[in-house]
């Protein structure tokens, strides 16, 4: 009995200390002087531009990584091709590699003297999109691969004996089996894309009102001693993340929440 309470209390205390406390404190600090100043802080042109840019980058990176993720997962699980193991290992690279290293490598590649220097990529949106795509790449693949493995190939084989083409089999059999894993992967990808700081920070040049995403905006405000602005922008980030999670749970039908 007591052991159970200890475990329960321990888990809650840990969550409170590590998760709820810090995030809650940000909310508290943002609204310390009421809603007015916070609202003003996040509706400045620079803040609005940062928000818009963040969403724009996510709107490119997330669909790209979703399509890549589903295709790569199918390739890894269903087809034996030379280099499949390598692809599988490479997909995890962004999880292991520090985002700063990613940013630096893009800097070297597109920067002065780099192989692909001078196409207006660096210190502009294209490099930021590339950096974001890099760091948010693994999530859809990692969610879909185990589900594909678990459902196996029998249903797909059954579909093919019943006359379904590859595309029909994907649409009618494979996709319904992996769509929730994909949706969850999209949520994680989105969260990562919105929250990315390190890699984007290196390649963006951090020009206020031009190449500043919401995370960069938070830091820039903080460094300018505008704590209300920093906290308010952080709250916006947290709310977007929360909205994504809620959206997924609303989309998810009851019967499939196993």
């Amino acid at each position: 009995m007591t052991a159970r309470y200890v475990i329960r209390f321990g888990a809650l205390a840990y969550l409170a200390l590590v998760l709820v406390g810090p995030v809650g404190y940000v909310f508290y600090k943002a609204f310390e002087h009421g809603i007015g100043p916070a609202w003003d802080a996040v509706t400045t042109p620079a803040a609005l531009h940062a928000l818009w840019l963040t969403l724009e980058i996510a709107a490119i990176a997330v669909p790209a990584n979703t399509i890549f993720g589903v295709v790569a997962a199918i390739a890894i699980v269903r087809y034996r091709f030379p280099g499949a193991g390598l692809v599988n290992a490479l997909v995890d690279l962004p999880l292991a590699l520090s985002p700063v290293v990613v940013g630096l490598s893009l800097l070297l590649l597109y920067g002065t003297g780099g192989w692909l220097a001078g196409h207006g990529i660096l210190f502009a949106v294209p490099a930021m999109v590339l950096a974001t795509m890099f760091v948010s790449l693994p999530f859809v693949v990692r969610e879909v691969v185990p589900v594909l493995r678990e459902v196996g190939t029998e249903q797909e084989q059954a579909a093919s004996t019943l006359g379904a083409s590859g595309m029909q089999t994907f649409r009618r059999v494979t996709w319904p089996a992996i769509r929730w894993a994909t949706a969850f992967g999209i949520v994680l990808t989105t969260a990562r894309a919105l929250g990315e700081f390190g890699a984007v920070s290196v390649v963006s040049g951090r020009l206020v009102g031009q190449t500043e995403t919401l995370t960069l905006h938070v830091q820039e405000r903080y460094e300018s001693f505008d704590t209300t602005g920093a906290y308010a922008a952080a709250v916006v980030l947290a709310l977007i993340a929360l909205a994504t999670l809620i959206l997924m749970n609303l989309l998810k039908p009851k019967e499939e929440t196993r």
Binding site: E154, Q157, A158, A159, L162, G163, Q168
Partner: protein, 316 residues
């Protein structure tokens, strides 16, 4: 009519099928019988197009279909673990092949209704596979395969995952269904009783080769070799001779051609009694008797009897 010609298939170092040829006459129900790893499922999958043979050819109704993908072969395939489309209702599972073929809605409705009736699932059309028992799921699998009017019906250990009673029921039901529809059918099984009971012809496979293909009775009475003899029924091996337990005669007195044996154990299986015997030379064998025979002999454990084979088979 299915003809498989000189099929060879390897998986890495493992030789699954070694130059196998088999004919399945039109309208027949043929069983591919063998232990696990004998290649029986691989052969079925090669016929369906789910595996590509390394060499050899498959003909369906005289047409070479070796290079054709499964979608274009018109075969109905039933899987051991059902392969039910989990996110579709029973109705949609059965209708799948017809929808793919873009048949008119009225025709689909009529055909699916008819098939669900045939497999006795009419009341369960709106259920999902997860809400069905194993036997119901497999009947759904069968209806789904039959929906496309397949030229041949292929069943891969269809009742293997079901419990003994349901298995027996479905086996009889499959035989009746076959007699009604007359579809050329191949069933893969490792259960000799199932093969003998349901099929017109049985092909016995072992280690990637066909040992013998014959009607059940012929297989039992004149097995081609040791493997077939011991696989299609229980057998005693005494030296070079193989004797079926029901071909062992038990007497209470010696008569010159008999040997002494002790009844080690008696097993009562309803109508039949099995006596486990130890001969005086230490050889063990079992004898199968009817209950009346056992009662007439007043058999008891530990009793001394005299045994003699009525019939025995020696393979050179």
């Amino acid at each position: 009519m299915i003809e498989a010609r000189n099929i060879t298939k390897r998986f890495g170092d493992f030789l699954a099928l070694d130059d196998v040829s088999v004919d399945v006459p039109a309208g027949s129900l043929t069983a591919l019988l063998g232990p696990s790893g004998s290649g029986k499922s691989t052969l079925l999958r090669v016929i369906a197009g789910l595996e590509h043979p390394d060499s050899g050819a498959v003909f369906l109704d005289g047409e070479d279909v070796t290079g054709r993908p499964p979608q274009k072969r018109g075969v109905g395939f039933v899987f051991q673990h059902y392969a039910a489309f989990k996110h579709m209702t029973v109705w949609d599972n059965v209708a799948f092949g017809l929808k793919i073929r873009r048949r008119p809605r009225a025709e689909i409705r009529e055909r699916v209704t008819e098939l669900l009736e045939l497999v006795q699932l009419s009341g369960l059309a709106k259920r999902y596979p997860a809400q069905l028992s194993g036997g119901q799921r497999q009947r759904m699998g069968l209806a789904r395969a039959l929906a496309i009017d397949p030229t041949v019906l292929l069943l891969d250990e269809p009742f293997g995952a079901l419990d003994a009673r349901v298995r027996k029921e479905l086996r009889e039901w499959l035989r009746r269904l076959h007699d009604e529809t007359g579809t050329t059918t191949v069933i893969v099984t490792h259960d000799q009783e199932e093969a003998m009971e349901v099929a017109d012809r049985v092909a016995v496979l072992n280690a990637g080769r066909i040992e013998q293909a014959a009607p059940p009775r012929e297989l039992y009475d004149t097995p081609a070799n040791e493997f077939v003899m011991s696989f299609v029924g229980p057998v005693n091996r005494l030296g070079d001779a193989f004797i079926r337990p029901h071909d062992v005669e038990l007497l209470l007195e010696p008569n010159g051609s008999t040997q002494e044996a002790m009844v080690e154990r008696l097993v009562h299986l309803g109508f039949e009694v099995r006596a486990e015997l130890v001969r005086d030379d230490g050889e063990r064998l079992s004898a199968q008797l009817t209950r009346e025979q056992a009662e007439a002999l007043e058999l008891e454990q530990g009793q001394i009897v005299y045994v003699r084979p009525i019939r025995q088979t020696v393979f050179r």
